[in-house]
Symmetry: C2
Subunit: 697 residues, 2 copies
């Protein structure tokens, strides 16, 4: 197969699929600190394969010189004949030849960049980690039929190997500063993320930097969550927390590690002085493909702050919270994915997050050690497929979905239900009321059932006919219905532990039964009345579960009520001065109570991805746009003003944007692709590509 046929990407750095995500993910997760102490995750970290071989067959009309850039030590062989040393330029003779490059790198993912007249490192290369499986030009793994595309992120600069990847930054100034008893407090105006820059450093001594999402935190030296301590000696600065040295250049020093903050307090001791403080703001992309405007300025502000919260938490990977947390969590990410589809449609970030979360075999624990987070991960893969239509990614993930599901199935009880084992964390949600999380929980079975159904869907996508997932899902569904549904309580009950049925009723299993379509008709009404809208059932206090709660209400057509909730809850945070949305919000709390969590005065994250769910709710249930077949090949629009006078917005898709404007009498829609259907009451109107539709209703 000649190069030209496949050379659609041009030369770029390529590696073993998934390996760069694993490596970068370790670096990413290990950046968390707690008061100057490293704080890596408490789950297993994997590694890239330290030895990888790349191979390509070429057919050349004439000899061709190629340039070879490699991260690692390597050999090059033409038709199996190894060349001396590690040449950067070689000539491939005329005719049909096989080029193979074997790379060894224990520290960084082995990667290559090849540039010739026709020979380029692109997705036509084959790769193996010497598991005796060659992934060929068609992406098929020889001998197994498993599809794995080559790893690449469109790194096209030969002098910028993958390990040098960094997010872009831009300088940003503080908006105010003031003297405090112990130092100078700088305010950057809103929640932000990046690298502090110290200007005009003079003399010698110690500089402490205390970060705060609130002014209180930055001024609380003993209890703020993050800090840096520097020692200045002439032109040399030692970062005492990281044991690294750097130089002051033109009086300035940029911290080597990023932090989240709105405020920083700079405390100088021993004669050293700092003239000014600014920052390098670090980000993935500016601007959003999704938009939303309406007549209600508070709702607009909720959308804007949600979008900014997403911008701050969309990084190399989708992050949960940017200050203390800084790890990649599956339960959080699966929500970020959905919000992302209505904001930036950053498919790359979705894919790399899913790859990192899954890691490598063998599976030795649940994702993030949390059983529910494993189950959500499966849905994350299918959601991505539904929004993007990217079948290649499903084919890449499917073998890893299988081994993860095998792990889950091996840990079920004699009824086939998933019970948390001593080494599993059962999260569900942060709750302020007593809720036992051991035994067989109804909530977990519903998630597990959805995961099995997702496996069945993906098996069909990749053509795996020898699977039993649909039957296993059906069996589990029968079992949890029989075990947990109570006619008396009109609800799914909480759990079984030591053979005892706990009849506690919470919103968690019930709203997921609604969301996942496990109930309809009368039972749906019962759950709505006796659980979801029953004020005797404990309220949800995290935006995390409010996401699902409000989605369940929207699915029931309660957009008016949800809009009020949104204004109360997210509007409530805005009222408290939020510039990004929080990990948790309890309306009846006051002042610095809002900053505390986990028994720590500033333990709460004030910029938490799961706080941004209005992006998703407004896009999907008000603008009302969602794909009905993979990649928005087909989609529907069911707009719902929810009490607004008018709204206007765009929703990104793989092929462009869908624009819609709705007021109480008119609907206008414009779209650049797909087959869309506008649904108004019983009316169904087909949307033609690039043709604005204007409907009175």
């Amino acid at each position: 197969m000649s190069c030209e046929l496949y050379n659609t990407l041009g030369s770029q750095w390529i590696w073993y699929p998934g390996d760069f995500e694993i490596w970068l993910g370790n670096r990413f997760n290990n950046l968390r600190t707690e008061r100057g102490a490293l704080s890596p995750p408490f789950w297993k970290q994997d590694s890239h394969y330290p030895m990888v071989e790349f191979r390509k067959e070429v057919s050349l009309p004439s000899a061709e010189e190629i340039e070879v850039m490699v991260e690692g030590d390597y050999n090059i062989a033409i038709d199996g004949e190894k060349l001396f040393g590690m040449p950067q330029h070689i000539t491939v003779p005329q005719g049909r030849h096989t080029i193979s490059i074997k790379v060894v790198n224990q520290s960084l993912p082995p990667a290559i960049y090849i540039k010739g007249e026709t020979i380029c490192s692109d997705d036509s290369w084959r790769v193996t980690y010497e598991d005796k499986i060659w992934i060929d030009e068609n992406g098929d793994a020889h001998g197994s039929g498993v599809y794995v595309p080559i790893g690449c992120w469109n790194f096209t600069d030969r002098n910028q190997p993958p390990s040098q990847f960094r997010l872009p930054t831009r300088p940003q100034d503080a908006v105010a500063h003031s003297a405090t008893p112990n130092g100078v407090l700088y305010d950057f105006g809103c929640e932000t993320f990046g690298y502090i820059v110290l200007h005009d450093i003079t003399s010698t001594g110690k500089i402490d930097i205390f970060y705060g999402e609130s002014a209180e935190e930055a001024q609380d030296e003993q209890r703020c969550e993050t800090l840096d301590r520097l020692s200045v000696d002439g032109d040399t600065i030692t970062d005492l927390g990281h044991n690294i040295k750097g130089n002051i250049e033109d009086g300035n020093y940029t911290l080597r590690f990023s932090k989240a903050f709105r405020y920083v307090m700079i405390k100088c001791q021993g004669g050293v002085a700092v003239g000014d403080v600014s920052m390098l703001y670090e980000y993935t992309t500016d601007g959003y493909r999704g938009t939303f405007h309406c007549n209600d300025e508070e709702v607009n502000r909720i959308w804007d702050v949600s979008a900014y919260t997403m911008q701050l938490t969309t990084r190399e990977f989708f992050m949960d919270g940017i200050k203390r947390d800084r790890w990649v969590w599956s339960g959080d990410a699966v929500q970020s994915f959905l919000m992302n589809y209505y904001l930036s449609f950053d498919s790359d970030c979705v894919k790399r997050t899913l790859r990192l979360l899954r890691g490598k075999d063998p599976v030795t624990a649940h994702i993030n050690t949390i059983m529910d987070y494993t189950f959500y991960w499966f849905k994350g893969v299918y959601d991505y497929y539904l929004f993007s239509g990217d079948v290649a990614f499903v084919r890449e993930m499917y073998p890893k979905m299988q081994t993860l599901m095998k792990y889950c199935l091996q840990r079920t009880d004699s009824n086939g239900m998933a019970e948390g084992q001593p080494d599993d964390w059962i999260f569900v949600d942060w709750v302020d009321f007593p809720m036992h999380k051991r035994g067989v929980m109804c909530f977990e079975q519903i998630l597990f059932c959805k995961a099995l159904e997702t496996m069945a869907l993906c098996a069909e996508i990749v053509g795996d006919k020898e699977n039993d997932y649909q039957r296993q899902a059906q069996q589990l569904r029968t079992m949890f219905e029989k075990t947990f549904w109570s006619d008396e309580h009109h609800a799914y009950l909480h759990n079984i532990e030591d053979r005892h049925l706990n009849t506690m009723v919470t919103k968690f299993p019930n709203m997921f039964a609604l969301l996942y379509g496990y109930v309809d008709g009368e039972r749906r009404e019962e759950i709505m009345k006796h659980v979801m809208l029953n004020s005797n059932v404990e309220a949800i206090t995290t935006p995390y579960m409010r996401f699902y709660e409000l989605e369940a209400l929207c699915m029931a057509g309660m957009q008016d009520e949800v809009l009020k909730e949104m204004k109360d809850y997210w509007g409530g945070m805005l009222g408290e001065g939020a510039t990004s949305f929080w990990e948790k919000y309890v309306p009846h709390e006051h002042g610095t109570q809002h900053l505390a969590m986990y028994g720590r005065p500033y333990g709460k994250s004030l910029c938490h991805a799961w706080g941004a769910s209005p992006i998703y709710l407004l896009g999907r249930y008000y603008l009302g746009i969602q794909p009905t077949s993979p990649g928005y090949e087909e989609y529907e629009i069911c707009p719902h003003l929810g009490g607004l006078q008018w709204m206007e917005g765009t929703v990104p898709t793989p092929w462009g944007e869908i624009w819609i404007k709705v007021d109480i009498h008119h609907i206008s829609v414009r779209s650049t692709g797909g087959t869309g259907t506008l649904k108004i009451g019983d009316r169904q109107i087909k949307i033609n590509i690039n043709e604005e539709i204007n409907i009175d209703y």
Copy 2:
């Protein structure tokens, strides 16, 4: 549990068990080169866990300062409270506390060294890679019962972290040199291994170094197997093969990478000159614990050259051949282990080789990709247990033995027999006659059966009662007996392929049936007569399989014949000038034919571990010493002169040496431990510790 109870090792570097071996093994295997091209293995390389947590509970009568040395970035927590930064000195308060150190290192295995008055990094620490399994002070993994001791190699110098580990070297001079048309040829007198040192380098230009196990090879620039090319520019030398620069110091330069050779030819171009050439000989240990002398000087020389061959191939790991090969191979290693028990009894090298060969889960291919090599590996673990009595190691390996065996069992055919799949290499031996290696081979079933029996033995050692290995072994044995034994041929036949029984008779399955005790009485006699001593059956030409062939003859009491064979075969190599024993020896070949293999003029390894088997044969079947219970707690001595007039030797054991001297009338034995039995004909004489026995017979 206080530190003192367990502090039997003193402070040393500790790491996650097996991780240093994996990492060092990659470095080791990746040092192979072919004519200046890197030549890493063609099997999967694993990595250490990049994040590991170490933990210990201490109970201190008073506060104690400890010193902390770490390979990697880390945090330290006392009772879960993290300390700022990465402190090298901390004070642990009086009382009961838990110290935990979490280390991140993508490039090197995370390792720590702790030194305090009572608190030391030793085998009392617990360790986890965050698989949610804690390995506790007793070596028990919390929650699984799997035993895993902490990783350590007795690195007690705080300033020498594990990654700096290097074998010792000593300077060695060439014994002769001579001018040749293209350069100067240096002769080091015998096969050797280490780093070439160039002396008195003057001017600028290029220096080529051609290595040879023979003078022919070193002078054959175009075809020698290994070489280095240097570029000299003032005081700077560039190693062109490795793309690294170094400095000439006092006119001298030591190569950074080791090579095997007896001869080197130094070729200078462009004005540069080299005054003299020496080397740094690299070795593990000098001297041997095992000895052998007898009246036959040729046999003594065979033993000496075998011992030297073992010294050269016993390195960080047991290596196959030191020139071209330089990888760690299971089939070769399992023989090295046995020789080693009669020479140096280097248990550490056995353990690290077994750990490296096994690697990490998941198993994606056979060890070294060779099915027979997987089967041998199991036996290697049990052999080590039998000779050393080290039950801890069996407990460490057992979970990995289980997963490897699971891999084997998943690949059997409907009869439960092991058939090579397309991605398996079926090695058996290098043979010069046509022998098909696909289908179901009798040889492989016999090895597989032994592996299953070994699993059953190890299951009993670790107390795993829920295994089926003995039944599976029995079933396989019944199956291969039924399938392959031929009364007509008085032999096990070769294989079944496409349902066709290939009636070819080779020594391979038959001698392993003898060795593994699968035949006795009449059938044993039949095999001896019709196969082993039948000159119509193809002869074995590698010392690799001669090891087993001669062992089978010795087991049949044919020491006289084996001694003659030994003198013919190994004596034959000595006659050809061997200073170490070869990968293969065909007596009727001549001159440079002896250097060729794999279609390459110098492809044969002239120093190959499997060439050293006389060490094992002479120790076990002439001195006649072997353990009969684990760790030589019980042993027997059945001396057999095999035609010699007298012999004298020592055999190392875990508790000391057993010395024996035998002539045709007298036997003297002295031992420092264990319960020994001297067997002479029907007589059984108990050997008392530290008491010399002198027997006339």
